[in-house]
């Protein structure tokens, strides 16, 4: 029973008023022990934390206000018993009064409102995105019970898809409640004028059961849909139903032509209920027999899987059962299964990957800092204003205004500020979410579901509003304590209260500067990383290139010959068009441009097949002319030609990395290697091509091979077209040629290579842009802080400066004074900020491309920028100080 509560919880509990703590503190502690004891997943823990912290913050605020409110009411009733109507009208009066008084000090109000709006707005926007992308549960019942079974390499930790044999083990041994495998594919909705390509999944029988999803209309796939002679039933997504079928209510039962075959629609899924996340169409995965040797092979990892934990089973118990079955598989197939196991991965973890969550947490951290800076700035502004108004309040106190009345006015003024700031923040956040959703890279899962999160807005507003109120009260408190005579008689601004206030404000500015430094360093590193990415050599010429994919329906292109003929004919027809410089077709496109490749293992001729000799490669298919179209130079050897066909010697073209890995000491050209686990045909290396960036600009070199379509005909291809002019102009031409050859083949995923290049950097760029934006805001706020403190200091010492100048002090002495005032504050902020950054940058390490987290250029640059801003912010007050006219300054008192 001695479980320690988390520090944050204990700290917040301490903020409750003593009386409340004495009565309920221990009981609350006991409550939290149980509250924190019970969660399984990271998401659940996060949710608990969010709720508990919000509850504590709200509770503390209400409790703290409660005392005052009671005081206020009792006082009010003792002095002037006001009817509710009168009270309302007094409050209305005071709101008007507050608005008027705020308008009088317009620059202060504008600064405070903007600060609040920016801080609250950006925090809300980023949190809204985090909530929808990272935290919101998937739209399946008890989604925390869904897992993705994966194959795991024990040594490298690398995850891959699963084999059908493993799937059968899980299914037949009832490891899961329901388990299914599926394969993603693309299918063409044909039959209308322009065929449409959609993302599809061929799924095994328990697929919908494992997800637990019920159809919105009709039914999901059922066992009778799976025999190979059954009608080819399809289930469609809500999105497809609306976009392609106009939401027609009689869609269930409709026969739709898919890849040239009529298939009945049996069901429609509810909105946003998609798995895999982008799928729009589900078809039964059918086999004539599960005994097919390809399905029995344990290293044939060509299926994705999804499963629902068995009732009563935990992730851990399921992991143990899967490991046991995997061990048996190793025992039965030691050669191919050594060092391989299978594991269940929680579905959210799998869906989100690692890059997106990390980037979003970094952004959330950044806006958190910004909100903090905003709060500090508002506190600072309120303090400045407090000092400026001390005299006004003293006068009003002397004239008989009660302290209560003054406090109420200050509270209302602060509330008006927070209210206006909050309203602006709402608009800003709404707009920012929209922008982020639009410009975010498409591969961020669920980004399209991001909407403004109102609880987040409330949370941010509550925090900054509380700060505004708290510091807004200070002048009223002083006004109550301060002796009116003192305040009026002497310059109130020179009392000890004023000096203490200055000290607080200097500290606040240093804090602001430190926080800004952290943001600036983060932004600086991200920008440096982007600059490195832009300089990346992709290995080919990305200008004037158009890409677009085609898929050939098996019903009309059932044979190898027909497929090859179509692909080659299409290439030749496009090559003969005017405006086309070069053209090639391949199965996959570089820079993450999509398409298909096989992950295979290859072994050089003359070597025994083993883990040590196998080189993992990405296996692609290409036509002659493909590398010329890319302008990826063939360093040695030759391109494919029309003579490389099914009858001739099996050949392949490999990249430099392949040559280096497979034949470290030899010239690879002319050597032979085979795909050791499946094709098992020795292929001669006829060409070595320069490395190209495969998955994206930040990709590291990987071994790639290409074989000719004529020797490995895939019914799929990406057309790569090099044009003389703007590649976009060639799109109609490609469509026309395609239509002339077969009206039922769609051109999909049309993009220019420049698009692909910028898309492959979109995530990094967005991160850099947002960080830079937040850092700039932080910098502006910090500059306002410096400016405020100095202006105030000079205001306060006007008298002294006047005397000094009258006594013959030089302007430079005055400047020295200002520098002496500014330097410690700036250096403290800078120093603390740089140290903190050095500690924090390890969180961004994995997001950087060829930039060290302690990149000296960034750190020095940040220090320089900050110093410059500090000088600029100090400039105006300094000029004013050095121009103090002794006569005016002395007369002011």
């Amino acid at each position: 029973m001695t479980t320690r509560l988390p520090l944050a919880v204990r700290a917040l509990m301490r903020l409750y008023p003593l009386e409340f703590r004495e009565r309920y503190g221990r009981a609350m502690a006991a409550f939290y022990v149980e509250r924190f004891a019970d969660h399984r997943t990271f998401g659940a823990r996060l949710r608990t934390w969010r709720r508990v912290l919000a509850d504590l913050v709200i509770g503390v605020t209400l409790e703290r206000l409660r005392g005052h409110r009671l005081d206020a009411l009792q006082l009010a009733s003792r002095t002037t018993p006001l009817s509710p109507e009168d009270q309302m009208s007094v409050i209305a009066q005071e709101i008007v009064h507050a608005a008027r008084s705020l308008r009088k000090s317009l620059s202060f109000s504008a600064a405070a409102v903007l600060t609040l709006a920016l801080g609250i707005g950006s925090t809300t926007a980023i949190f809204s995105v985090v909530e929808s992308v990272l935290l919101a549960p998937l739209p399946f019942p008890h989604a925390d019970r869904i897992v993705v079974p994966q194959t795991r390499n024990v040594t490298t930790g690398e995850m891959s898809w699963v084999s059908y044999a493993d799937f059968m083990d899980w299914r037949d041994n009832k490891v899961f409640d329901q388990v299914a495998v599926y394969q993603r594919t693309e299918m063409d909705l044909t039959g209308s004028d322009e065929p449409v390509r959609v993302s599809a999944a061929a799924v095994s029988p328990q697929f919908f059961g494992a997800l637990g999803s019920a159809p919105a209309r009709g039914r999901v796939l059922q066992p009778t849909d799976f025999p190979v002679d059954a009608a080819r039933a399809i289930v469609i997504s809500d999105r497809l139903w609306r976009n392609q079928f106009g939401g027609r209510t009689d869609v269930v039962g409709l026969a739709v032509e898919v890849n040239g075959i009529k298939r009945p629609v049996v069901g429609v899924m509810p909105p946003n209920t998609r798995w895999p996340l982008e799928a729009d169409l589900w078809v039964p995965l059918r086999f004539s027999t599960e005994q097919d040797p390809d399905l029995q092979r344990r290293d044939n990892l060509i299926f994705e899987a999804v499963a629902r934990l068995a009732p009563g089973a935990s992730l851990e118990s399921t992991r143990a059962r899967m490991a046991l079955l995997a061990e048996r598989a190793v025992a039965a197939n030691p050669r191919i299964r050594k060092g391989v196991t299978t594991v269940p991965v929680p579905v959210m973890e799998w869906a989100l990957g690692t890059t997106t969550p990390r980037a979003l947490w970094i952004l959330l951290g950044a806006v958190g800092l910004l909100l903090l800076i905003g709060c500090v700035n508002v506190a600072n502004l309120q303090l400045a204003r407090a000092t400026a108004r001390q005299r006004e309040l003293a006068v009003r106190t002397a004239l008989g205004a009660s302290r209560l009345r003054l406090m109420r006015q200050m509270l209302i003024e602060s509330a008006v500020l927070a209210g206006v700031g909050g309203a602006l923040a709402l608009a800003l956040a709404y707009w920012m979410v929209k922008v982020i959703v639009t410009v975010a890279p498409r591969d961020v899962p669920r980004i399209d579901t991001a909407t403004l999160n109102l609880p987040a807005l409330g949370f941010a507003l509550a925090i900054s509003g509380a700060v505004a109120l708290l510091f807004g009260l200070i002048p009223a408190l002083h006004a109550g304590h301060a002796d009116p005579h003192l305040a009026l008689g002497d310059g109130g601004t020179r009392t000890s209260t004023g000096r203490r206030g200055t000290q607080i404000r200097r500290t606040l500015v240093a804090v602001e500067l430190a926080l800004s430094v952290i943001l600036l360093v983060g932004a600086g590193l991200a920008i440096r990383s982007i600059a490195q990415l832009r300089r990346v050599d992709t290995g080919f010429d990305t200008r004037n290139l158009l890409t677009g994919s085609i898929a050939l329906p098996s019903i009309r292109y059932g044979t190898r010959a027909k497929t090859v003929a179509f692909i080659h004919q299409l290439r030749d027809r496009l090559a003969s068009q005017s405006g086309v410089e070069a053209v090639g077709i391949s199965s996959a496109s570089p820079l993450g441009g999509g398409g298909f490749y096989l992950g295979r293992s290859m072994v050089a001729e003359g070597r025994a097949v083993s883990n040590a000799t196998e080189v993992p490669v990405n296996w692609n298919v290409a036509t002659p002319g493909y590398f010329a179209a890319l302008r990826a130079p063939i360093l040695r050897g030759r391109d494919f030609t029309a003579r490389d066909d099914s009858a001739s010697t099996p050949v392949m073209i490999v990249n430099e990395t392949f040559a280096k890995l497979m034949f470290p000491n030899d010239n690879a050209l002319g050597k032979r290697a085979m795909s050791s686990r499946d094709e098992k045909v020795y292929r001669e290396i006829v060409g070595i091509v320069r490395d190209v960036k495969y998955y994206g600009a930040s990709d590291s070199p990987r071994a790639l091979v290409w074989v000719p379509y004529a020797q490995n005909p895939w019914p799929f291809g990406i057309i790569t077209l090099r044009t003389h002019g703007n590649p976009v102009n060639a799109i109609p031409l490609v469509r026309a040629e395609l239509r002339a050859m077969d009206r039922g083949v769609a051109l999909a995923n049309v993009a220019t290579m420049a698009d692909a290049m910028s898309r492959s950097m979109a995530g990094d760029r967005l991160l850099a842009v947002l960080l830079a934006a937040f850092a700039s805001l932080a910098l502006v706020l910090a500059a306002v802080g410096i400016f405020g403190v100095l202006s105030y200091m000079i205001e306060r010492r006007m008298h002294e400066l006047g005397i000094r100048i009258a006594l013959g002090a030089q302007r430079t002495d005055v400047v020295r004074l200002v520098v002496r005032e500014t330097t410690p504050m700036v250096f403290a902020g800078l120093g603390i900020g740089l140290l903190a950054s050095a500690g924090l940058t390890r969180f961004v390490r994995s997001m950087l491309y060829q930039v060290a987290p302690n990149d000296p250029l960034t750190f020095v640059g940040v220090a320089a920028v900050l110093a410059l801003v500090a000088i600029l912010a100090a400039l105006v007050p300094t000029r004013r100080a050095s121009r103090v006219d002794p006569i005016t300054a002395l007369r002011a008192d």
Binding site: M1, F20, R23, Y24, R26, A27, M28, A29, A30, F31, Y32, V33, E34, R35, R51, V52, A54, D55, L56, I58, G59, V60, L62, E63
Partner: protein
Amino acid sequence: MKSTRSPDDLLPLKPVETLILSMLAAGDRHGYGIRQDVLDHTRGKIELEAGSLYRLIRRMEAEGLIEASVARRADDDDRRIYYHLSSFGRRVISAEMLRLRELVRLAEDRRLIARA
């Protein structure tokens, strides 16, 4: 003082107070127990956290609706406070339920819902 108050003075209760009082009608509960009961009976819709829960408890204690219990099991976390309904609280929650029943009947008469 309290005995002279009529339960009707406190009506209508807030929904969450009604829930908590109903849970306590089944016997003594400590804070987290109340939370779990409410969670179960609302199918997870209402999740009370410590701060709001104990502020509610304080108010209901002040109103004399609930009282802290003295008896407890020996092996229990001694920081916990168990609460039970006071006799006044029992009258208040009964009165509230009667009030709600009237409303339900009204809804049934108006055919807003089917008769139970």
